[in-house]
Amino acid sequence: MAGKATPLPEAPSPGAGAPGPSLRALPSRNGSIRVTGLEHTYAAAGRVTKALEDIRLDIAPGRFVVIVGPSGCGKSSLLMMLAGLVAPTAGRIVCGGRALTAPDPDLVGVVFQEASLYPWLTAQENVEFPLSLRRVPRAERTQRARDKLALVGLAGFEDRYPHELSGGMKQRVSIARGLVQNPPVLLLDEPFAALDEQTRISMGDELLRIWEQTGKTVVFVTHSLTEAAYLADQIVVMSARPGRIVDRVEVDLPRPRTYAMMGTPRFAELRQRIWEQIRSQADG
C-alpha cells in the first residue's frame, strides 16, 4: 500500500494518543523558502502601480512565519506568488531548493480565505479532490483524506456537505485539503478572517497543534496583530503601497502558546512594536 507514498512519520502512531511535546517529524522534502529581490508591478487605469518592492524572505524548514500589514500592502499577492499562482515582475522564489514558477501542490499546500470548498462535494470528497486530480487509487485516497480529516479533528464529519458545517469546520476541511498531498509548506491566506473571535482563537490553537504534529513550514497572512503575535515564530511586517518589509520580529514567547499569554507584558510589547511600524507607515 504505502509503496510509493513517501514515508512520512507524521500521523500520530496508533494507540499513542496525543504525541508528547513537539514530536516534530521531518518532511522528506525540504520546506525552506528563499525569496530574493521580489517585485510586483501591475498596470491599472493607465498607471503602473508598484505593489511589492524588494521583498526578501529566508524561511527555515518548520518555521511558523506570519505576514502582517495594512490592507493593500500586497501581503495576499505575496502569498499567491509563494503559491506559484501569480508571477512576480522580478525576483526569485526558491522553495525546497527548487525555483518556483508554477503551482506545485506536492511542495506547497494552500488554504484560502473562507468558502473555497466545493459545495457539491462532501468534506471527504473535498479533501480527496487534489488526490483524485492526480489519479491516486481510490482506496489510498479515501484513507489519506480520512486521516487528514481526523488530524484536523473532523472524524465523523466525512459525509457532511460544506453548507452543513460551521465556518470553523469549513476551514478545518480546507486545512485538511491543503495537507492531503503532504507538502512540506503550508500557506494560509487570512484563513480565519471571517470567523468570530472565539472560533478564531480556538482555530489558532488547532493550527498550532497541527503544525507541531506535522512539522510543516507555515506562512500565514493576517491583518490581526493579536493573531500574528499568538501564532508566529517570526512576524514579517509590511508597509502599504508599495509593499515592503519594514520589520521582522522574532517572537520569543514560549511554546505551547496559551490564551493567558495574551495578557503578558511581553505579548503587549510585541503587539505595540508591530502596531507602531504599521502606524508610522500609514502616517507617512
Binding site: P103, V110, F112, F129, L133, H163, E164
Partner: protein
Amino acid sequence: MADTAVRRPAGAAPALRIAPRTLRVLLGFCVLVAWEVLPRSGAIPTLFLPSLSDTLAALADGAPEYGRHLLFTLRAIAVSMAVACGLGIGAGLLIGSVARLRRIVQPLASGLYAVPLVILYPLFTAWFGIGPQSKIVFASLYGLLPCLLGTIAGVQTIDRQYLLVARSLRATRRQTVLRVLLPAAIPTVLTSLRIGGALVIVGVVVAEMLTSAEGIGYLITRSRTLLDSPRVFAGILLVVAMVFAFDGLVRLLDHRTRHWRLSTRSGDGGA
C-alpha cells in the same frame, strides 16, 4: 406543525390555515370540476369548451391514433432536447470560460433570442420538408438559445475562488471544466434547462400545428378544422401532461443537486 410568527386572535385562525400543498391540489380539483360542470350546465357552449368527461372519452376513443402521434411528438422532443441542451450547455461552458469568445457570441445570441424564431419555420419546412427534421431543427434552435445564454451567465457567476483552488492544485484545463466549472454552473444550468426544455416542447408542438402530417400539434389543428372540440381538448390535455412530466423531471434533478445551493439547509435524511 411549526407555528407562524404572527399571532392571530384565538379561535378564527386555525381553521383558515391550510397547507399550500393542499390548497394547490384543491385549486386543481376546482378547475376540473368547473371544466365538467360549466359546459354541462350550458353556461359555456360545448363547442368552445367540451366537458372533461367528453374530452376524456374522445381521448379514450382515439387512443391508438393519439398514441401514435404522441410517440412522433415525443421522439422529436427527445432529439431536439438532446441537441438544444447538449449543444447549449457544452458550447455555453466553452464560451463562458473563454473571455474573447464570450464577447463575440453573447451579444449575438441574446439578440437572436429576442427574435420570434417562429418566422423562420416556413423556411425550415422548405429546407427540411414537413417531416420530423424541420420540427427538430426548429425546436432545437428555439431551445438552444436559453440553454446557451443561461450556461454562459452561469459560468460568469462562478466564484473565482473555485478556479483559483483548481489552479493551485494544477488541474488540467479538462479537469477544470468538467470537475469545477460544470458542477459549479449546475444551478444556473438547471434553470436554463427548465426554460430551454419548455421551449423545445413549445417549438415542436407549434411546428406541428403549422405544417405537418403527424404529431399532437397536427391532431389539434386538424380536429379544430373539423370543429371537433373534444378531440382538440384531448390533444391539449396531452401537451399539458407532457409539460408537467418534464417539469417533474427537472424538479427531480433540482432536488438531487440541492447541495449546490449553499444557502438551503436541508435535513439530514434527505427525504
